[in-house]
């Protein structure tokens, strides 16, 4: 199979680009979720 490396690289690149972005978004979302919970707790106690 000629040029298979490029095809594979392209497939991986597409995955990587979307996946890495999604990961960064998801991790920020969970960070924020914790922060929000913490603040809500603080407000409830205060």
């Amino acid at each position: 199979m000629r040029n298979f490396h490029f095809l594979f690289a392209a497939w991986m690149a597409v995955w990587a680009v979307f996946f890495v972005y999604e990961l960064s978004v998801a991790s920020r979302v969970s960070q924020l979720r914790d922060e929000i919970e913490r603040l809500k707790q603080q407000l409830r106690e205060g």
Binding site: N3, L7, A9, V14, F18, E22, V25, L39
Partner: protein, 239 residues
Amino acid sequence: MKTRAPITILVAAVMFFAGYAALFIAPDERTMHEIQRIFYFHLGSWTAMFAALTVAFVANVAWLLTRQPRWDWLGVSAVEVGVVACTSGLITGVLWGKPAWGIWWTWDARLTTCFILWLLYVSYLILRGLIEEPQRRATLSAVFGIFAFLDAPLVYASNRLWRTQHPAPVIFGGPNSGLDPTMVKVLLFCMTATLALMLVILVDRYRLEQMRHELDELRVAAETRSASPGPALTAATRN
């Protein structure tokens, strides 16, 4: 959100199957053989980008008309996702170009258009980063976003008019000129798959903006609470 996990799994499965289809089900192409299969991911990226940027345009207009924060959130989310899709389109384009034409890059109409669009919308994101006041940031970036969206077809048209007059590497006679029916099916499937993936990511990114807003409001509430003397303060000192 309870429906979240099943949807993600479904989209992942669809993408996986789309990859399989592109790699193994689609028939072999005459001149470029297997490297041509990048075409399915390449067009998929472009579809996702186009959809995302259209959503961004609608959101920009909606913000200016209604001033509801959620349109601003949608606007920035859609642009970011659009830039990601565009990046994917550019990378697949480059990786297709090298084996197919022997060169990493060429200034043909489509690649140039994609690159300029990438620059345009990255500028949008940079602009947002440089304006602090939220209302003004939303309004000015919405105006810029509308200009960018109006420019996009002009960029494409001008590049088309221009580059096709120069000798350029031919992309197997245009994607819609007599494509094998199986290819068409695989193409549509891949486009749908990338679109679905884009939507999932968009929803997540929107949620991020929404939560940022919620966090800001909570912070303000917490500060005003601690600023005023009373039970809150005594409770803290007791602890």
